[in-house]
């Protein structure tokens, strides 16, 4: 078993029982959890951006992640890795914008249920189109630095360099997004639109453009997640959906629309999943997130971090 990589779920728990749990294992699990948790959080933030702007859950969010990963792999044959990733993010961003303009913008006051069904349809459409473009083969970007077997020793804990990339790039993206929404005029316009669309229009803000922008932003951050994680998890035409389910769980767990809480919730789900391997077969790993999703929806629909003050100020 390569501790440096987090492809631990192919191993049976018997192996762990034989070794027993010790601090070194404990940290390996934590780090694996954080890595996956980061990606879930980024996907959840993608959900939140569109939710905040339109009030809908974009079920094609996972497909943005997949398109990002796939196009990056394709581009990486022609250009150096950083450019390939940047281009992939750009392409996905444009895709997101085009999708909004083609399928969402012209709807006149659509119901939430209608928009949700449209996004589910889009996710199926994108998946099928990707299968025709890229086929069914599994792809991956190369490790950004080092290889799948290289590792960094962090006080007795071995981490794959890619983990550092995943967590680092995601953290930077989240900080940048937060800055964008809090301190730039454009970000504030987007928040104004989500707080009160008509009032925003009365301030001269073009609400339609803000929705397009939210799709582009959400697509871009999804694509970025798809790129950084693809060396670890691989990417395939249908790899978006499972990620979308995890991301959705995290978004609900943190409280819909609350991006900072999504980071915390992502960590919780990631770590829970990674420790679940220790006590039950790996096949049940995905059941964890569904269970959490149901529990949260039953017990605390505003999310564990949902602040009473802010949620009272929201429309729903």
């Amino acid at each position: 078993m390569q501790f440096g990589s987090i492809r631990y779920n192919t191993d049976t728990p018997e192996l762990l029982f034989r070794y027993g749990m010790n601090w070194e294992f404990f940290f390996q699990y934590i780090i694996a959890g954080i890595t996956y948790g980061t990606i879930y959080a980024v996907v959840a933030i993608g959900f939140n951006i569109i939710y905040n702007a339109t009030g809908i859950i974009n079920f094609a969010q996972g497909e943005f992640v997949m398109i990002g990963g796939m196009t990056a792999v394709t581009f990486s044959h022609f250009m150096p890795l950083p450019f390939a990733i940047a281009s992939a993010v750009l392409v996905t961003m444009i895709t997101g914008g085009v999708i909004e303009i083609l399928f969402i913008r012209w709807l006149y006051k659509p119901s939430v249920i209608r928009m949700i069904i449209i996004t589910i349809g889009l996710s199926i459409l994108i998946r099928e189109m990707s299968m025709h473009i890229w086929g069914e083969s599994v792809r991956a970007l190369p490790y950004f630095t080092g290889t799948s077997v290289s590792s960094i020793n962090l006080g007795g804990v071995y981490i794959s360099p890619q983990v550092v990339w995943v967590v680092g790039i995601s953290a930077i993206a989240v900080v940048c997004l937060n800055f964008f929404f809090s301190y730039t005029l454009l970000g504030r316009q987007m928040r104004a639109c989500s707080a009160n669309r008509d009032a925003a229009r009365l301030c001269g803000i073009n609400a339609g453009n803000m929705v397009t922008l939210s799709f582009m932003l959400s697509a871009a951050i999804g694509a970025l997640a798809g790129c950084v994680v693809s060396p670890i998890t691989y990417v395939q035409y249908d790899s978006g959906t499972p990620l979308a389910i995890k991301g959705f769980t995290v978004a609900i767990l943190g409280g819909l629309g609350n991006s900072m809480a999504a980071v915390g919730a992502g960590m919780i789900l990631g770590v829970l999943e990674s420790f679940s391997i220790w006590i039950m077969p790996a096949a049940y790993k995905d059941a964890i997130s569904i269970t959490i999703l149901l529990l949260i929806l039953f017990l605390r629909p505003s999310g564990i971090f949902g602040s009473a003050e802010v949620s009272r100020l929201k429309e729903f």
Partner: protein, 246 residues
């Protein structure tokens, strides 16, 4: 400044406004009074572009604004303080004001924004104290002040207010009307829609009476205050019972 001719508008199959014609001249405070459901809010929403007119024309500063989107109309200098305040509840007070000035940024008049902000804070000192608070946590009166302040930040040539006294304590209502009077004295043009007819006519130059989607009366504000029909219908004076007492 604003001239409306034969305006018709409504929701789906419901026709609310029927052949409305009216005008607002520069520097005037004009009020539209009328009962619940008369179409006052619909009229303001139609002028601001949130509802599309079905027929007629709305000319603002010699330009037909019927086909324009709300965001374009604001840019031309016609701002609405919507009914029920509609502040950005999850944003801070200061952010609300900055967004009010969004058209100023569009007009490349960025330098005027902080100056305007100071003016608003002078007009409503309480907003300065609460600058970092979320707008949704303000009291109703403070939210109304913020909504007016937000509209003023766009440096409107015409500011339209929809029921600024709605749901506020009488003392606050007085404050709000004093502010509107002050705006008028400073030369702003105000179109005020109110159910509180007495207070509205008290500060207005001219008034229209709107009844079931039609304008039935147009007079100087003082004359409307003296008008017996208006007194009976909107000012709560029961002339019939007065006669009996005699």
């Amino acid at each position: 400044m604003l001239r409306i001719r034969n305006l018709e508008a409504g929701y789906n199959s419901l026709k609310v406004l029927k052949k409305i014609s009216m005008h607002v001249s520069s520097g005037e405070i004009v009020t539209i009074i009328g009962a619940n459901g008369a179409g006052k809010t619909t009229l303001l929403k139609t002028i601001s572009g949130l509802i599309k007119a079905r027929a007629g024309e709305i000319v603002f500063e010699k330009k037909d604004i019927v086909p324009l989107a709300p965001e374009k109309i604001v840019l031309l200098g016609c701002s609405l303080v919507p009914e029920g305040r509609q502040v950005f509840a999850t944003l801070t007070v200061k952010e609300n004001l900055i967004l009010g000035a969004y058209v100023q940024y569009r007009r490349k008049r960025t330098d005027e924004v902080s100056e305007d902000m100071d003016r608003i804070f002078k007009l409503f000192p309480v907003l300065k104290e609460r600058g970092r608070q979320l707008a949704g946590t303000l009291s109703g009166g403070e939210q109304q002040m913020l909504a007016i302040g937000r509209a003023l930040m766009s440096r409107p040539k015409l500011i339209m207010m929809d029921e600024p006294s709605m749901g506020l304590a009488p003392l606050i209502v007085k404050d709000i009307f004093n502010i509107i009077r002050k705006l008028g004295e400073e030369g702003s043009t105000v179109l005020l829609v109110e159910q509180n007819a007495k207070a509205a006519l008290g500060i207005a130059d001219r008034g229209y009476v709107l009844e079931t989607g039609r304008i039935i009366l147009e007079e100087k504000a003082e004359e409307l205050l003296m008008n017996k029909d208006v007194q009976r219908a909107y000012l709560g004076r029961d002339l019939d019972s007065e006669v009996e007492i005699k």
